[in-house]
Symmetry: C2
Subunit: 317 residues, 2 copies
């Protein structure tokens, strides 16, 4: 028998565990959202109009890696939080993510026709329906967080509401989207080019804030102590940075069929992205697709030498 390099074997196993657990969270999140977005109205609702439900389901079901719910579930697992609780918080976060995609794809925003390999919500339905579905999903996220199934303690649910609102709103994701449009010269063609720090803030808000919330939500659900929370916040921030770099590089070098959305758009729109940062740093632009995959691993190396609260966090490393 051929000898197996132990280091190599370990790396392969970690990847398999990661893929397996990611897939399980994706499956569970899909089933949960499907149940939450059923046709029957619940207490406090008058009716669930069929077309609105259809668009909300189209925009949130049947696709996506469910990376954000995965972060919630795995971070919460560090503190022995029951999976049904963290899946609820993950579903809420995914609703916010999916709403932001539906609104981002609108003609007045990024004007995208393709998302997750399918027509975007306004293409499959119409603009008004996509706007309302986004509004409905954003609102629904807070409904989910407020439910007892998310956590038995009101304080915990309330902290999730507060943290998600700040991550998603004016000072988080929505703010980042506005900075992104401004950086394209959308409001002032003569706007000065952003510096490295500006691009980092933009990306930390636009993409980073929700990924960071995913990790932080785990610590809130788990009633973690301050140092554990800080560790997960730092992990979430680093992951957010790595994720955005990978996404930007995929836009430059990815194949639309593989990526599931139109590529090459950031450069055309003069987006303030990672490739812009590479140029700022005087480096050569990336030349292969594998660069993107590698940068997705940045976050792992960021945390690799850190001491984790419990050994079961291996899947996050």
């Amino acid at each position: 028998m051929a000898r197996v390099d132990p280091a190599k074997k370990k790396a392969v196993d970690t990847d398999a565990v990661f893929q397996d657990r990611l897939a399980r969270v994706a499956q569970d999140t899909e089933a949960l959202l499907d149940r939450l977005l059923a046709s029957a109205p619940i207490d406090g609702e008058r009716a669930r109009p069929a077309r609105l439900l259809d668009v909300m389901r189209y925009a949130s079901l049947g696709g996506g890696k469910r990376l954000r719910p995965f972060l919630v579930v795995e971070a919460a697992a560090l503190f022995d939080v029951p999976r049904q609780n963290s899946l609820m918080a993950g579903a809420a976060l995914e609703c916010v993510h999916c709403y932001s995609l539906a609104h981002d794809d609108l003609p007045a925003m990024d004007n995208d026709d393709l998302r997750r390999g399918r027509p975007t919500a306004h293409k499959a339905f119409d603009e008004a329906s996509a706007i309302l579905a986004g509004d409905g999903l954003l609102t629904f996220a807070f409904d989910i967080l407020s439910r007892r199934e998310t956590h038995p303690d009101a304080d915990v649910r309330l902290e999730l509401v507060s943290a998600l609102a700040r991550a998603a709103g004016l000072g988080g994701m929505v703010g980042g989207q506005m900075l992104d449009l401004a950086a394209e010269g959308r409001f002032d063609a003569s706007a000065p080019k952003l510096g490295e720090q500006d691009v980092k803030v933009l990306q930390a808000m636009k993409t980073g804030a929700l990924l960071r919330f995913g990790c932080v939500a785990g610590s809130i659900l788990g009633k973690a102590n301050q140092s554990q929370r800080t560790a997960l916040e730092r992990y979430g921030s680093a992951l957010g940075e790595a994720f955005q770099i990978a996404d930007d590089l995929l836009d430059v070098e990815g194949d639309p069929a593989t990526v599931g959305k139109a590529t090459g758009k950031d450069a055309a729109a003069h987006k303030a992205d990672a490739t812009h940062l590479v140029q700022l740093g005087g480096l050569e632009p990336p030349t292969s697709w594998s660069t993107a995959k590698r940068s997705n691993q940045l976050s792992y190396s960021c945390t690799h030498r850190r001491k984790w609260p419990q050994p079961r966090s291996a899947v996050l490393l």
Copy 2:
């Protein structure tokens, strides 16, 4: 001295008290929103981008009767809730109301240029900014509700979050907006005309749900007992109905300069509105503007013979 009809005198006084208290809530809500939407980021926010803040402030400050916050404050006052608490909940509700106006006015929705006598958000800024400002205001509403200043008890804040999410979302306001577009024949030109019950459900969701929440929020803040809650729910529902009738009639007969927005649009868009209901009932369409004002008093008569929890509710009658 001329003799004064006592019934007439009483009516005049009630109206003056109503106007005075409405104006005070409007003033306090304006000041509170101005403070909440200050430029400095708060804990959990990275930055508050200037343009986004400008549009959010434009869409939420400097106009509006603040009827919804008024309902929260006055309903909460029935239970001796401190005014600073009910103003917070009222400000959250107003954020939801203002976001819905910004999105409703978009070209893909109702395509309105005028709101509260000023250009609509997408006219004063641009479409993308109006979309993001709406998203930001909706998100901000839940941030406000989650704060300790809204109520010292986490359970109460959480109940407000849940009730607002259901009133505003899929099974409430957003659902009603979708039904409204469908009733215009937006998605199917051959859609059958709505019956009286359909129009009532549509309006209860589109406009009624937030007004009803205003009243219910008062009972939540006041930890009211079940019969008190039910009374305020019924009051809120009746007020919502009356309000929508008045609004529809203003669209038929109002002067844009007085109403502060374009009129005559509902008929052009074949909206399912109160005038449609009047026709369904075989009645003559209303012929004077005063009909609208009178129908706004419907809610008062709905509750006039009810026994209220405490005498200080007079201003709501």
